[in-house]
Symmetry: C2
Subunit: 343 residues, 2 copies
Amino acid sequence: INIVILPGDGIGPEVTTEAVRCLELLSRARGLGLRFTGHHFGGAGIDAHGDPLPASTLAACKAANAVLLGAVGGDKWDEAPIRPEAGLLRIRAELGLYANLRPARIYKGLEDASPLRADLAQGTDVLVVRELTGGLYFGARTYSDEAASDLCSYSRPEIERIAHIAFHAARGRRRKLCSVDKANVLATSKLWRKVVSEIAAGYPEVELSHLYVDAAAMALVTRPRDFDVILTENLFGDILSDELSVIGGSIGLLGSASVGGDGPGLFEPIHGSAPPLAGKDVANPAGAIASAAMMLTELGLPECAQLLTVSLERTIEEGHRTADLGGTTRCSEFGARVRDNLR
Amino acid sequence: INIVILPGDGIGPEVTTEAVRCLELLSRARGLGLRFTGHHFGGAGIDAHGDPLPASTLAACKAANAVLLGAVGGDKWDEAPIRPEAGLLRIRAELGLYANLRPARIYKGLEDASPLRADLAQGTDVLVVRELTGGLYFGARTYSDEAASDLCSYSRPEIERIAHIAFHAARGRRRKLCSVDKANVLATSKLWRKVVSEIAAGYPEVELSHLYVDAAAMALVTRPRDFDVILTENLFGDILSDELSVIGGSIGLLGSASVGGDGPGLFEPIHGSAPPLAGKDVANPAGAIASAAMMLTELGLPECAQLLTVSLERTIEEGHRTADLGGTTRCSEFGARVRDNLR
Ligand SMILES: CC(C)[C@H](C(=O)O)[C@@H](O)C(=O)O
Ligand SMILES: CC(C)[C@H](C(=O)O)[C@@H](O)C(=O)O
């Protein structure tokens, strides 16, 4: 099993290193035969090849079974002709990764770390299913000094396929799906609501509801526990999944999976590259490790994924806290504790 | 001074009634000469004239000094050929109301009502300045059963004028302006950031910062106190102002002003029509009363606005709580207490 590692920028290399060490341990113990090769991506791609997604990196990703990404971006490349983020959008499109899965939950032992009142936050466990290769992110653009435009478009098949992913996920969870749109204003949202409602007929055991995006932004703060799976389009998913991600106490804790193409999936922590923290061994590798667990599930190794998840949960329960959670545990130390628990 | 009242739908009529009674009292006591006339709007406009914004209503609004709106919408009109919300978008456009001001704060006595931890919520006092007549809300649309699209566009003058409003507001407050966009992806956001940065040169006393919309969605939950004025485009403003609005404990508390045209401004509570609560005298009229206070300011009557605001604050401090805040005070009773405090 070939896994491409894209450490990327900022704290990306540190956190992916810890995740890879966990995967290596599992691979040896269970004879998984995981093989890792690193490639330049993002700002690192720009520095090395003048391109955030160098051709060699893309070729390696296409040939791999899965891709584990750290983080991309940084002020350093703000004036670059192509920015690191462009590489992220391109790799999503090139690999056909139309489904972005972003789970958010409250880890045991971290109930008090939430910015929400503990009584509201407790028990929150939501999966955001975000459409990732359509909408405003990939529409035609115009730009001049006097005016600019971005086109948001969605076709029926684009909505159908992501809806199936979300209903499928809901079926394996608490069977509630909330589709978020702005159907009282947008044409794309009107179609979104229509198609999602039609697809619902094939999943009678899943309870479907609809919410406008503004109402959803409120509900995630006032009653996050009421949600099981949230299905939404690209930009709304970007905003709402980030809003939700802080409820658990730190965005450093969460992983994500981007899937749906014929080739490999892409797995990455939801946090950014955090340039000021880079190279200091203070980042939280939990998000990268959680992403590695999602990768194992996608690779058809759910027991290994479960082992890694439980080890991560235990490490948090034991009270090991990196700086983002007010603690002093180093990135490398946290990774080592997860591996202790894996053994 | 002629004021058009658009009670609208659901709880709209009840809450505007209380606000108008406060305004009448002030008008008599201070000889303001306020005159009120009610008109159909929203679902009520559809029922009476087959149009959410009947011609007679629009004409009356255009001739008025200010418009006070209750709320629009309800499931009842979900299948109507034109929905109530369309009337809202049209009146914004017809009156040229490109600037939507949405203050959010924690009222004294309601510190514990916030869904956020009290230590994070305390002291929050933010003004969202939302562009209201551009972007995806007013772009060209296409719709068929197979595909749909919405166009987001912004011109330089559209960005300039709303930026001036926001810098101006910041100058009268704590002199911090955070502009929110998605400049790492969208062309309109790139222009937005550029133009806002240019306009900043005329306001050297205001400290300008920029945040991506996803990061802003996080920051409003984790550190709302850090914000003074937030400037953003139409759809981001819809989402973020609603997210922020729940931090004070109830959306029933907040008012808004839509201004910028040559004619009257439009003032409305940010809550919706809440059909299940309609006619039960249980709605919170605080948002409508706060909107009336914003109207008085815009009409050049800041002392009267201040009087009304202080009376509202006192009523809340005295512990009167409508159902949205877990209390049993009726809508009419709450209004009466505000008027007691006004006397
Ligand atoms: C970096 C940016 C382009 C990206 C996005 O908006 O998709 C990021 O915010 C994310 O959510 O993965
Ligand atoms: C009703 C709807 C069209 C409207 C909007 O999105 O602008 C509302 O949510 C608001 O914020 O005033």
